[in-house]
Each structure stands twice: as C-alpha cells, then as structure tokens.
Subunit: 170 residues, 2 copies
C-alpha cells in the first residue's frame, strides 16, 4: 500500500509518499508544491489543485493522509490552510482515493510515542525510520512524510490488533 | 453583470445570484447546497464541488463573492468552513470566474451602513433591497444574497468614484 502524506498550505504544500518493502519503509516521492504569491487566493487554489491532481496521477497512492488544520494560528493563515486542505482532499476524492485526517498531536504521538514531542524530534524520527542520512528538507516535506508514517503505523497497529483478536497471523 | 454570493459550509452552503435590472436588483437564483453527514469530509467536499460546478454552469455568473471564513468559532467547524470555501473558490476558478472575498463585518457595513449590525438587520435589508415580501429562508440563503449585494454595491461605489475622478458620466 502506497501512502501519500500531505502537509497542506496555500503557499507551500508538502507531500511525501512511502511504501512498505519487507520490514522497511521507503520513500517513493517527496517534495513541495508552491503557488505564486502574486495570484489571487482562488487562482492559487486552482494551481494547487491541478498540481495535486497531476501528482496523484504520477504517484498513484492507495490512500492519502492529511494533517488536520491547526487553528491556533494567525486567522488569515488558518483560513488559507483550511482552503488548501479542502482542495487537496477534493483532488484525492475525485481520484477515488480515501482520505484520513490526523491532528498534529496524533502525528507526534504515533511517530515518536510522545504527543508533545518537538518538531525536531519528529523530523529526526522520520529520517531514522526512512533510513535517510539527513532530515528531509524543506520542513514541509519532513512533516508530510511524518503524516504518511503516522497513517501507515496506525493502520499497522489496527491490523496487529485485529490479528490478535482473531488469533491469526500474517 | 450577474453576481453569485456564497456563504460556504461543509454541511450547508448558501448561494444567491443577483443581477441589476435598471435601478432594481433582482434575484436570479437562491438556495442551499447540502451534503450528506454520513459521508467522510473528503466525500462531502467532493459532493459540494460537483454541485457548485453544476450550479455555476446553470446560472452562469460573471463573478463570485464569498464570505471569508470567520475563525472565532469552534475549531473543527472553522476548519470545515475553510475547506468548503476552498472547494467553492476552486470551482469558480476552474470555470474562469473571478472570486472576491468579503469579511462578515464588511458585508454588514456595505449592506446596512453599520459594520456591527445584527444578522436580523442585515436580512431585513436584503429583503428590502431585493423587493422580497419576506426574509429569504434558510438563513444561509439570506447571507449569500447579502454577500452578492455587498459585492454589487462595492463595485458600484468604485465605478462611481472612478467616474467622479475622471469627470465622466455613465
């Protein structure tokens, strides 16, 4: 199962696609989508939507995990992040892909085992899990990979629990 | 010029399209788009996007005016309103329509002359301006019509000012 993680934003949207290969998790694609600051918000959402649709067609993820907008920020920024996440989720839905949303604290808790971990701790854990020599850059890419790992691990735990309940093994 | 006003929401999105006929402003279309509460957020955004795209194709507005998300609400509600507004603005942009955003206080100030007017005062003014016997219902429809009127009046004022500056007459 290929999971694409998304850290949405109107200016910069991070993405990171990962897949399980044996016991390892490897990065399939990672980077950012940027929009032109000189355009109107609607045109920037349009650009983000088109780029995201193209990315989904290229990467062919089986599922999308999106960071849920965190509203304790500057008001206009929060609005713009909400609009960007809406457009990203739409692109996934129109491509027939299921979308899961995770709060920032859930991502921290699942990836590091500590819901109050620092951004740096999360990024270092992402690099370690993915066997990367350095923390992925820019930060939006590392955040997106953390979200993808969070989903993969959450699903893994669920399968583990279900397996335990049913007494089976995979 | 046909203006469509939008009061975005994931559960209910109000719309109201108005046009100037001589010195009067008349309602061309007004109502709400609702989404199924049993679906995931992504699927609901998908439904909203499809319905909005169809509405734009039917009504053929020249411009869209959207209420800017007001963030002083319940966090998850604010996130969902942001996502809905993003999808609505995207539908307009993909249809080649310019989008203008207005804050709730700007709408109140332009429509009633008082930025701190009550919701009821705004709705009564909307009914009066549009020559309606009653306040449009549900409230999302009345709010959407207020946003459309706000845009029409803002543009009218601007044309008025430009005309004054250039010493011309229309």
């Amino acid at each position: 199962m290929l999971v694409i993680g998304i850290d949405p934003g109107l200016t910069t949207t991070g993405f990171g696609a990962v897949r399980k290969v044996g016991s390892r998790v490897e990065v399939v694609a990672a980077g950012v989508i940027r929009t032109d600051k000189d355009l109107s918000a609607a045109r920037r959402l349009d650009g983000l939507y088109r780029d995201m649709t193209e990315l989904i067609a290229d990467v062919q993820p089986g599922v999308m995990a999106v960071e849920q907008v965190f509203m304790n920020r500057n008001r206009l920024t929060a609005t713009r992040v909400g609009q960007a996440s809406g457009v990203v989720m739409l692109a996934a839905s129109l491509a027939g892909i299921d979308v899961f949303e995770y709060s920032p604290s859930a991502v921290k808790a699942v990836v590091t085992g500590d819901g109050s971990a620092s951004k740096a701790q999360v990024q270092q854990m992402v690099a370690r899990r993915l066997g990367l020599a350095e923390v992925p850059s820019p930060a939006d890419t590392a955040d997106a990979l953390a979200i993808a790992l969070c989903h993969m691990q959450s699903m893994g735990n669920m399968v583990g629990r279900l397996t335990a309940v049913h007494g089976g093994r995979r």
